[in-house]
C-alpha cells in the first residue's frame, strides 16, 4: 500500500516538523525575525512527509501554481538548486511568500494530509529553499540573462514596485524583456517595505529579491508618482510596448466616528510606515518620529491589525488591545499571526466596535467608546453580521488608537487617467484571464483591481499579466 493510500485510510500521520522561533518574552522587545526558519535536518525530515500524490491538490491551492510536488521531490533527493529552479519558474519572491502567505487557506489547506492531520509545511520549505539558496551564493547561477528573440527588445513599464509589479517584472525579465519599474516611494517593495514589519519579513530578504531582479536587467526608478510625475499615455509615447499597473489599494479607511482626528489616533498605514519605512524604531538615529504608545487600542481583525499591535508592543507600549467587531473565528488574519500576537501579550476583545474617540482639552486621546455587538444572521459573504447590542457600550482608556479597517482606491492615478474603466467599487476593471484594462496593452493587477488582498494573489496577477504580454509580443 502506498503512503497516499494509507493517508486516505486514516493511518496516523506524523506531526509536521516544528520551526525554531525566538521565545515570546524575548522577541516582544525587539524587531528581529520571530520565525527562524528550518535547518537542513528539519527541512529533510519535513520533506519526507510529502507523499508525492499522483494528482496533487496543493498546486491548485497556490495562486501562482508552483509545482510543489516537483520542488519537494527534488528536496527529497537533497537537490537544493533543482528545487530552487522549479520554484523560480513560478514565483519571483519565494523568500517573501514562504513567510507571509496564508498557507492554511491556500497550498497547505489543499494538502491531502490536512484531512487527517497536519499538512506538509510547504511555506516553510519554500522559505528554506529560497534562504539557503541565496545564502550559498548560488543565485548567481540563475542571473545569466537570456537573449531577446526580437529585433528590438520589448519594453515594459511596471507602475508600482510592490508584489504585483515585482512579480510581473521578474517573469518578463527572465524572458529577456527590458523592464522598468516606477515606484512612488524612495524604496522598492510596496507593502513588503512599508507595511509588513521586519520581525515577520526582514528587509534584507526584500532587498535580496530586488537585487536578484536588478541582476536580471530590471531598472528601478524611485520617487516617480504615476499620475503626477508622469502619465500612462506618456509611457506609450516614450516607446514602452506595454504597461502593468500594480499601484495597490492605497488610501486608509477611517471609521467616520467623532474624535477620529484627535492626537494619538493613527491609521495603521501611518503607524507602520513610520516604523518600517521610516525606521522610527531607531529614532533619533533615524529622523522619522515614532508614533505614540502607552495604552494602545488597535481596531480591526486582519493581518494589518496584528502587525500594528505587535509593532506597538515592540515600541514599548504598556498594553495593547485589539478590538474586533466579530469573533476570533471570523478574524481574517493569518492564524499564525494571531497566535504569535496573543503569545506576545496582545489582548483581544471581540464583539465590540468604536463609536467615538474621546480627548482632553489639548485634543489628546484619552479613551475609546466601544459599542458592544453580537453575531446576527450570515451576510452575503457567509460570515455572521455583527449587530449592536442595544444600549450596551463601554469606555476603554487609551493613549493611542490605530485604525486597521481596510483601504480604498488611491485617486491620484485614476483621476489622471480617465480612460481607465473602473468597477463599481472604484477599482480598475481588468480582464480576469489576461489582466488587460480598457486601455489596450495596459494591464493591471493586485490590490488596485481586487481591493486589499494577499501578497501572493497580487503576485499571481502580476504573473498572469506577464504571461499575456509575453504571448502577445514574443509569440
Amino acid at each position: 500500500m502506498t503512503q497516499e493510500q494509507s493517508a486516505k485510510k486514516g493511518r496516523k500521520i506524523q506531526p509536521r516538523v516544528a520551526m525554531p522561533e525566538q521565545p515570546a518574552r524575548e522577541r516582544s522587545g525587539n524587531f528581529d525575525e520571530v520565525a527562524l526558519g528550518y535547518r537542513r535536518e528539519d527541512a529533510l525530515a519535513e520533506t519526507a512527509r510529502c507523499i508525492q500524490c499522483k494528482n496533487p491538490k496543493c498546486r491548485k491551492g497556490c495562486p501562482v501554481e508552483i509545482d510543489i510536488k516537483g520542488f519537494i521531490g527534488r528536496l527529497q533527493q537533497d537537490d537544493l538548486s533543482g528545487a530552487h529552479e522549479i520554484i523560480r519558474q513560478y514565483n519571483s519572491l519565494p523568500a517573501v511568500c514562504g513567510r507571509v502567505c496564508p498557507q492554511e487557506s491556500q497550498c497547505e489547506g489543499a494538502c491531502v494530509l490536512a484531512a487527517k492531520g497536519e499538512p506538509v509545511a510547504i511555506g516553510r520549505l519554500e522559505r528554506y529553499v529560497a534562504d539557503t539558496f541565496a545564502a550559498s551564493g548560488a543565485c548567481e547561477q540563475l542571473t545569466g540573462t537570456r537573449e531577446c528573440t526580437l529585433d528590438r527588445p520589448l519594453r515594459v513599464a511596471c507602475v508600482g514596485g510592490g508584489p504585483a509589479g515585482l512579480s510581473c517584472a521578474g517573469h518578463l525579465a527572465a524572458l529577456g524583456v527590458k523592464v522598468t519599474v516606477f515606484e512612488a516611494l524612495h524604496e522598492v517593495g510596496g507593502v513588503l517595505v512599508y507595511g509588513i514589519p521586519r520581525f515577520r519579513l526582514p528587509k534584507a530578504v526584500v532587498r535580496r529579491e530586488v537585487e536578484a531582479m536588478r541582476a536580471l536587467g530590471v531598472e528601478f526608478v524611485t520617487n516617480w508618482v504615476a499620475g503626477r510625475t508622469f502619465q500612462l499615455r506618456e509611457l506609450m509615447e516614450q516607446g514602452f510596448d506595454a504597461v502593468f499597473i500594480g499601484v495597490g489599494a492605497g488610501l486608509p479607511r477611517f471609521l467616520n466616528v467623532p474624535g477620529e482626528n484627535l492626537l494619538g489616533v493613527y491609521s495603521a498605514n501611518e503607524y507602520l510606515t513610520r516604523v518600517n519605512l521610516g525606521r522610527a524604531f531607531s529614532f533619533p538615529d533615524h529622523d522619522t518620529p515614532p508614533p505614540h504608545t502607552g495604552r494602545v487600542v488597535v481596531v480591526g481583525g486582519g493581518n494589518v491589525a496584528m502587525d500594528a499591535a505587535r509593532t506597538a508592543l515592540r515600541l514599548g507600549a504598556d498594553e495593547v488591545t485589539i478590538l474586533y467587531r466579530r469573533t476570533e473565528a471570523e478574524m481574517p488574519a493569518r492564524a499564525e499571526e494571531t497566535h504569535h500576537a496573543l503569545e506576545e501579550g496582545v489582548k483581544l476583545r471581540c464583539l465590540c466596535s468604536p463609536i467615538a474617540f474621546n480627548g482632553d482639552a489639548d485634543m489628546k486621546l484619552t479613551s475609546v467608546t466601544a459599542q458592544l455587538m453580537e453575531l446576527g444572521a450570515p451576510d452575503e459573504s457567509g460570515r455572521c453580521r455583527p449587530v449592536c447590542v442595544e444600549g450596551a457600550s463601554e469606555e476603554i482608556p487609551a493613549d493611542t488608537a490605530v485604525i486597521a479597517v481596510g483601504t480604498r482606491p488611491n485617486p491620484i492615478l485614476l483621476e489622471a487617467t480617465p480612460e481607465l474603466e473602473l468597477n463599481k467599487w472604484g477599482y480598475i476593471q481588468a480582464d480576469p484571464e489576461t489582466g488587460e484594462t480598457s486601455m489596450p496593452n495596459v494591464f493591471a493587477g493586485g490590490d488596485i483591481v481586487t481591493g486589499a488582498a494577499t501578497v501572493i494573489s497580487a503576485m499571481g496577477a502580476g504573473r498572469r499579466a506577464a504571461k499575456t504580454i509575453a504571448e502577445r509580443f514574443l509569440g
Binding site: 516617480w224 508622469f230 538615529d285 529622523d287 522619522t288 518620529p289
Partner: protein, 282 residues
C-alpha cells in the same frame, strides 16, 4: 539618483534659505500649488516643501524653507554641489486658476514663497494680482521684488512698521476691501493664525478665500492620512485632496493642534543633531 543643489542662497541668515535643485522631471510637471516630499539623507525623514518656482528648461525647482528643526537645519548645512537623497513630486492638486479679475494673494513668513508661485500662475492666466506681504520687520520680508515683477501692486505690512503698513496683513486687506476693490478671490499662505485671520476677515463679505494647508505628512501620496484635516465637517487628506482648500470651511484649531503632535520628539531630534554636529567639528 541624487538631486543636486545647483544654487543656495540664505534669504534671512540662520532662518530662511532658498535652494535650487536639479530635478528635471519634477520641474517639467510642476504647477503652482504643488509640493515635493524630500529626504536629505539615508536616515532622513520625509518632509513636505512647497515648490516656490520651477524652470522646466533648466530642469530645476526652487524650494524655500524656514529652519525650525532637525531636518531643515541639516538642509541648511548643505552647500552648492551637495545632493539630496530623494525628491518626490510634484504632489498635491495644482491651484485652480481661471481668468476671474482681481486676485489678492496674501503671504506671511515662509508662506510667501508658495504664495509667490500661486500669484505667478494667476498673473499668467491674465488676472490682476495684488500681493500683500507680511513680516515682523523689513529685514524678514521675502520675494517682494519678484512679486513686483508681475503684480501691479505689492502692499507690505510689518509688525514694527519698518516698511509699509505698521501692523498685520489683515489690516492691509481690510483697507483694500474698504477702498471698494472688486476682489474675485483671496489666496492666503502662511502661519495658521494668519490664514485663519484672513478667512475670518473675508467671511462676512462672501469673498472666495483659498488657503494652503501645511499639515504633517509622511508619504505625501495619500497612503496614511497623517495630513488629514477637517474641511466643511468632512475629513480630507491635504496631500491628495489639497493642499489648497476653502478657507471658510477649514477647522484651523484642529490643524494647529495636529501640527504640534510630535513636538517632544522634534526637540529630541534637534538636540541629537546639534550634539552630533558638535562632535564632528572637534
Amino acid at each position: 539618483m541624487m538631486y543636486k543643489i545647483v544654487n543656495k542662497r540664505s534669504l534671512i541668515p540662520g532662518q530662511t534659505s532658498m535652494l535650487v535643485i536639479e530635478a528635471p522631471q519634477v520641474a517639467l510637471k510642476a504647477e503652482p500649488g504643488n509640493f515635493v516630499m524630500l529626504r536629505v539623507h539615508e536616515q532622513g525623514e520625509r518632509i513636505p516643501l512647497t515648490i516656490a518656482d520651477a524652470d522646466p528648461e533648466a530642469g530645476t525647482i526652487t524650494l524655500v524653507f524656514l529652519v525650525v528643526g532637525k531636518t531643515t537645519a541639516h538642509l541648511d548645512s548643505l552647500e552648492e554641489g551637495d545632493s539630496l537623497q530623494d525628491v518626490c513630486g510634484p504632489l498635491g492638486r495644482p491651484t485652480e486658476i481661471e481668468s476671474r479679475g482681481t486676485v489678492v494673494c496674501v503671504g506671511g513668513g515662509t508662506g510667501v514663497a508658495a504664495m509667490h508661485h500661486i500669484a505667478k500662475g494667476h498673473a499668467r492666466a491674465g488676472n490682476r494680482v495684488i500681493a500683500i506681504v507680511g513680516a515682523r520687520s523689513e529685514s524678514l520680508l521675502l520675494f517682494c521684488d519678484e512679486l513686483a515683477g508681475f503684480c501691479p501692486e505689492v502692499r507690505i505690512a510689518t509688525d514694527d512698521g519698518s516698511r509699509g503698513h505698521k501692523g498685520f496683513v489683515t489690516q492691509v486687506l481690510q483697507r483694500l476691501i474698504d477702498e471698494g476693490e472688486e476682489i474675485a478671490e483671496v489666496v492666503a499662505v502662511g502661519p495658521v493664525p494668519m490664514m485663519r485671520a484672513v478667512a475670518e476677515l473675508t467671511r462676512p463679505y462672501g469673498i472666495k478665500t483659498t488657503v494652503s494647508l501645511n499639515s504633517i505628512m509622511v508619504d505625501g501620496i495619500g497612503m496614511c492620512g497623517a495630513c488629514r484635516c477637517s474641511v466643511g465637517g468632512e475629513t480630507r487628506f491635504a496631500c491628495v485632496d489639497g493642499p489648497e482648500f476653502d478657507g471658510h470651511e477649514v477647522d484651523f484649531d484642529e490643524l494647529w493642534r495636529r501640527l504640534g503632535q510630535f513636538r517632544e520628539q522634534e526637540a529630541v531630534s534637534r538636540e541629537h543633531f546639534h550634539q552630533c554636529r558638535c562632535g564632528e567639528s572637534k
